[in-house]
């Protein structure tokens, strides 16, 4: 790959997805795009770039997808899900008792392990949410990963990384070499293609937003812009979960971290005195002790 090819790909990826590749990421581009080039019967990345420059729109979309698809697994990092189970969801169950509805958004949901983890968690908490309208919206830039997510089919390796064995037995059936989530869990998650760089306000507002391990690939300005959009889509007493390596510090003042609770954030404007917010804060604080 020539330096010019790399620059072309960097610029295109920045424009299309916001992905901010530093100058030293040629290895990443090669490892992700070489298999795609070979599948497309092209000799290598220079030929792939040539074809993209010629206007191969489908191929260009595949390149963006290949570069932005990231690893995920069930109950990744465990802690945010423990907070959800022990504190956030019980608190929201109280705070939303009158309207009996809950909206959760998994941004950059990839192949579905994260939204399905939340769905299984909610299923385990049926007693709190019987008769509620629960919406889990899973979005991703890549249509290909959304299709895989919708099918709910996972390899033996995938179901062994983070998924407790009891949940595997309870919520999956074997399909040959693969494991498929039961229809009731799959039915709890709605899938939509979405580019975080574009207008996303049509999704509405949410009580819980998981936006983990995606902002790390964006530059500061893009991150700040996305935080701005998310802040308008999160209920005042809602909860934002970021990845273990991500933070709002130095990027935006729109959210504040919960002290000693890695990964969870609340809008800075949250009226702590409000009943709902107080429930959430109190419960999260006690769970963290």
């Amino acid at each position: 790959m020539t330096p010019l090819d790399y620059e072309y790909l960097r610029k295109l990826l920045k424009e299309r997805s916001g992905l901010d590749l530093s100058a030293d990421k040629q290895y990443l581009v090669e490892s992700r795009l070489l298999p795609l080039a070979r599948r497309s019967n092209l000799a290598g990345i220079p030929e792939l770039v040539q074809k993209m420059k010629g206007g191969a729109e489908m191929l260009t979309s595949e390149v963006v997808e290949a570069m932005t698809t990231n690893e995920t697994f069930f109950f990744r990092d465990k802690i945010p899900f423990d907070h959800l189970k022990e504190a956030v969801l019980p608190a929201l169950a109280q705070a939303r008792a009158a309207r009996r509805s809950l909206r959760v958004w998994c941004a950059a949901s990839s192949t579905g392990q994260e939204p399905y983890s939340i769905a299984m968690l909610l299923k385990e908490m049926t007693a709190l949410f019987t008769g509620w309208r629960i919406e889990i919206i899973a979005t991703d830039l890549s249509q290909a990963v959304l299709e895989k997510s919708k099918a709910g089919l996972f390899s033996q390796f995938e179901v062994q990384r983070g998924l407790p064995i009891q949940l595997l037995v309870k919520h999956f059936v074997q399909k040959g070499e693969l494991w498929q989530l039961n229809a009731d869990i799959r039915g709890m998650v709605q899938h939509r293609q979405l580019n975080l760089l574009q207008d996303i306000s049509h999704l509405g507002t949410f009580d819980v937003i998981f936006c983990r391990n995606v902002l790390i690939y964006f530059d500061q300005q893009t991150k700040a812009g996305i935080f701005g959009k998310i802040s308008r889509m999160l209920e005042p007493d809602g909860v934002l979960a970021l990845g273990a390596a991500e933070s709002v510090v130095g990027i935006t003042n729109l959210f504040r971290p919960y002290p000693d609770r890695r990964g969870l954030y609340q809008p800075s404007t949250a009226p702590v005195a409000r009943a709902g917010a107080a429930h959430v804060l109190k419960a999260v604080a006690s769970a963290a002790r």
């Binding site: 390796f157 407790p164 064995i165």
Partner: protein, 121 residues
């Protein structure tokens, strides 16, 4: 340092498991069948057991039943690690007192995730 008893009739599997678990700061004791594993538990009860199912002399399922009936035998976290990958076997293992279940083949990520799941890491 905590101890993990690795029970498998394959020396290759025991070696692979030892390498992974030593990397997770466990001291390793090995046994090649369920009977030898029980003797090891009588000498010193480990904190964790990584357990194969099909073995000569005494299989993993029988070992687990005996272990759970021993004084202090309810303490070790037992993680099955076997080629038996159907729901019926998994359900039997859980019913017999297994804490987690790994379907072979496995790698470091899977062992780490399962040991985290049962609070060993």
């Amino acid at each position: 340092m905590r101890t993990c008893l690795v029970v498998d009739d394959s020396s290759v599997i025991r070696k692979v498991a030892r390498r992974i678990l030593e990397g997770l700061d466990f001291q390793i004791v090995e046994a090649e069948d369920g009977a030898k594993a029980l003797e090891a538990c009588k000498r010193a009860m480990p904190e964790a057991v990584l357990l194969d199912w099909n073995m000569p002399v005494m299989d993993g399922y029988e070992f687990l039943g005996n272990l759970r009936r021993m004084p202090g035998g309810d303490q070790p976290k037992v993680v099955f690690c076997t080629t038996e990958n159907d729901v019926a076997h998994i359900a039997r293992a859980l019913h017999a007192g297994a804490n987690e279940y790994i379907m072979k083949p496995f790698d470091r990520d899977i062992v780490t995730a399962k040991f985290q799941e049962v609070g060993l890491i």
